[in-house]
């Protein structure tokens, strides 16, 4: 029972962290241009 008291909050916390990260990405427009994001890695930066 003691193990559960630690592990369950940890599991939920990690899950919430992932959910929060997704919401952040959604709000910041990370899903606006999926094709472009895939291609962008191939652009050579000269700076």
């Amino acid at each position: 029972m003691n193990g559960l008291a630690i592990l369950i909050p940890v599991a939920l916390g990690l899950g919430m962290l992932g959910l929060a990260a997704f919401f952040w990405a959604l709000k910041r427009g990370q899903f606006e241009d999926l094709d472009g994001a895939a291609a962008r890695i191939l652009i050579e930066d000269e700076e």
């Binding site: 369950i8 599991a11 939920l12 959910l19 919401f23 959604l26 899903f31 472009g36 191939l42």
Partner: protein
């Protein structure tokens, strides 16, 4: 950000969105962004490849033409996106957050449920149920909102849809689970409810994403032609005005190779006009001072000044638009397969649940036990796999079609396309390429020098015939000769000197049809005839239609002579000189005799027919109206895209039907168990996910549907 960019950031920046249809890879993105960032005054440029657009933040003093120039230097054509700066509302985006919440909650509740199923008991079980409720109830409220609002909207109007049984099932299941948790009962259904929402939302997101993607593709095509005109003001200066701001009485200067933005009368100059998009007529029509010319026609020979007589809603285009509106209404009556299924399904589900409740009461079970069983029936019959059956198959198929160069506007297009048994093809621009190409025999007759001089002369002109010559000769590997003293006289041709000889590419004195004459010193004059060629693979495509059991015929606005040539070449029957209303009537007649008609056309004159037909396709080279009215747009020149679209649609329909069988088959197995009171949350979860996975797996077979 670079140093100068930061300075601009402090000022108020203007934002401009430009459409760049030609971008398709990382290289293109890099070139456009680098080209724009090199312009002084631009602080940031970011390409959106999905929408084929670039958003530029720049000093307000910097005009749009400077940006267009910069992109042109990078090698791309672009147009400012005028009216609305914000991208069109996406259908999929508002569903992403509920989907994420449902997925998160489903995973965590499932984790707790697994421990309960594997034997957690007593206090642990109660704790886990309470934890599940803590995660599940808020998540269900949030993730279920799209369904609740839609169901409420339907109920308010006295109708029902797929969302009504879903909402009822979800609400009852959540209520029951909370009650069970509170009294320390045996089973809670939070996991099943969340899983149901997760799968249903997945289906919705896929469906919406498909429509978004197709719309982005079609939008970038539509915006290619920015209608507008160079207007001559009284002091003689020129100014570019968009079509919407043209007023009758203005004089617009229409360059060679430009499309008219409004109806008008020629005030100065004479030229020939290509009306093929408007009337389907393939031959150019000559018009001089005082003659009427129509919006949408292409100026072929020489620049002319046109006094605008009608704009916008008054033009000959507007009449076509009115016809199209009326024609489109018939199609909107089509009921999508998923909706038809839900119309049958929703009452059946409620009936079953009510029956099992009544049955158990009659059999002497308590009110509570009967309610639990009825709710179990509702949960188990909730159309999880049915909700996925249609969208997953259609998304996979439309993705496959898109890779094959066919853009599908929405899922119902695939359903309607699968049913066609008759195809009507427009001639100019659909069966044929819609632009003149030089006669092969005439080009073969040219010797090396003549070909080289022809190419050199043609490359100095923007005339459509010259451009066709350049394209064909370059493809043949001819290199241009060195010319001097090149001059072009509008309406007559290009003249120059080559190795001391006078050379010219000019309008022939007398020729039937379209042709150009090559004069090379004292050599005999060479006549190069032009003709509108059949699209490649036209015959193969028609053969495939025959194999599919689809009868084809031509429906053209062109004159009988020109249509007869194509009819002979393809072996099809034809109707010539059809007006837009005639075309629509021909389709209505066929539909009245029980045929499902596929219309293929490109012109403005095809618009009403495209909208009236059961399904329609337009080539990518079609007029704006054509592309907008059609269900699908195919890129490239090959007509094989047509039978391919039909075959893929039929395959999709077959898979959708199989999916329904799989989904309903699961219900046939699970419902008796539920009615007998034997279903536990574990069994419900297993059954639900198995049937959903089966449906998804079956749909993935469509990846190769467009081959």
């Amino acid at each position: 950000m670079t140093e100068p960019a930061r300075q601009f950031a402090s000022q108020a920046l203007a934002a401009t969105v430009l459409v760049v249809p030609g971008m398709h890879c990382a290289g293109c993105m890099g070139k456009v962004e680098k080209g724009l960032n090199a312009v002084p005054g631009v602080s940031a440029a970011r390409v959106n490849l999905t929408a084929r657009q670039v958003r530029v933040e720049h000093d307000p003093a910097l005009g749009i033409p400077a940006l267009v120039d910069a992109i042109a230097k990078a090698g791309f054509a672009s147009q400012p996106r005028g009216e609305e700066l914000t991208p069109p509302e996406s259908a999929a985006k508002p569903l992403l957050a509920p989907l994420a919440v449902a997925a998160f909650a489903c995973m965590n509740v499932m984790l707790l449920s697994v421990s309960i199923w594997s034997g957690a008991d007593g206090a642990t079980k109660a704790l886990f149920h309470w934890l599940s409720a803590l995660i599940g109830v808020p998540a269900i409220l949030y993730a279920g909102r799209p369904f609740f609002t839609s169901a409420w909207g339907a109920l308010k109007h006295g109708t029902t849809n797929m969302d009504v049984p879903i909402s009822i099932g979800v609400t009852l299941a959540t209520g029951l689970s909370l009650y069970e948790t509170a009294i320390g009962g045996a089973d809670a259904w939070f996991d099943g409810t969340l899983m149901l929402l997760l799968f249903l939302l997945t289906g919705r997101v896929l469906d919406a994403a498909m429509r978004d993607r197709a719309r982005a593709g079609v939008d970038s095509l539509l915006r290619q032609a920015a209608p507008g005109a160079m207007v001559v003001s009284r002091d003689g200066s020129l100014q570019w005005l968009s079509a919407a701001s043209l007023v009758s009485g203005m004089v617009m200067r229409v360059a060679m190779g430009e499309r008219l933005a409004a109806d008008g009368m020629i005030a100065n100059g004479a030229s020939r006009f290509d009306q093929s998009l408007l009337t389907g007529e393939s031959g150019p029509v000559a018009a001089g001072e005082g003659d009427l010319v129509h919006a949408g026609t292409l100026n072929l020979d020489a620049p002319v000044d046109v006094r605008v007589s009608a704009t916008g809603a008054d033009t000959s285009l507007a009449e076509i638009a009115r016809l199209m509106d009326a024609a489109g209404q018939a199609r909107s009556k089509y009921v999508r397969l998923a909706d038809r299924a839900s119309r049958l399904y929703a009452p059946a589900v409620h009936m079953l649940a009510a029956l099992s409740f009544a049955g158990w009461i009659l059999a002497g079970a308590g009110l509570y036990q009967s309610a639990v069983i009825a709710i179990a029936v509702l949960i188990i019959t909730c159309p999880c796999a049915i909700g996925l059956a249609v969208p997953v198959a259609q998304v996979v198929a439309s993705g496959a079609l898109m890779r094959a160069g066919i853009m599908v506007k929405d899922g119902s297009a695939l359903e309607r396309m699968a049913g066609v048994d008759r195809v009507l093809l427009d001639k100019t621009g659909t069966l044929t390429l819609g632009r003149p190409t030089p006669d092969v025999a005439a080009l073969d007759a040219l010797d090396c020098d003549e070909a080289a001089v022809t190419l050199a002369l043609a490359s100095h002109s923007r005339h459509p015939l010259s451009r066709a010559l350049v394209e064909t000769l370059t493809a043949r590997g001819v290199t241009a000769a060195d010319l001097s003293e090149v001059g072009e006289e509008a309406g007559h041709g290009v003249t120059a000197r080559w190795n001391g000889h006078a050379v010219a590419l000019r309008r022939p004195e007398a020729a039937s049809g379209i042709a150009t004459a090559l004069v090379l010193g004292d050599r005999p004059i060479r006549l190069i005839a032009f003709a509108d060629r059949l699209r490649p693979d036209a015959e193969a495509a028609l053969t495939q239609f025959a194999q599919l059991g689809i009868a084809a015929s031509i429906l053209s606005g062109d004159n009988a002579g020109a249509v007869a040539d194509v009819a002979r070449a393809t072996g099809l029957t034809a109707q010539a000189s059809a007006s837009p209303a005639d075309k629509q009537a021909a389709i209505t007649r066929l539909q009245a005799s029980g045929r499902k008609v596929l219309m293929v056309g490109d012109g403005l004159n095809d618009g009403p027919a495209l909208a009236a037909a059961d399904a329609s396709i337009a080539p990518g080279s079609a007029s704006d109206v054509g592309r907008q009215a059609a269900d699908m747009v195919f890129l490239g020149e090959s007509l094989l895209a047509l039978p391919r679209a039909v075959t893929a649609s039929r395959r999709t329909l077959r898979v959708v039907k199989q999916n329904f069988v799989l989904a309903i088959g699961y219900n046939v197995l699970a419902v008796p168990l539920a009615m007998a009171g034997l279903i536990t949350p574990l069994l419900a979860a297993v059954a639900m996910s198995t049937s959903s996975l089966l449906v998804i797996g079956n749909s993935l077979r469509l990846v190769r549907a467009a081959r």
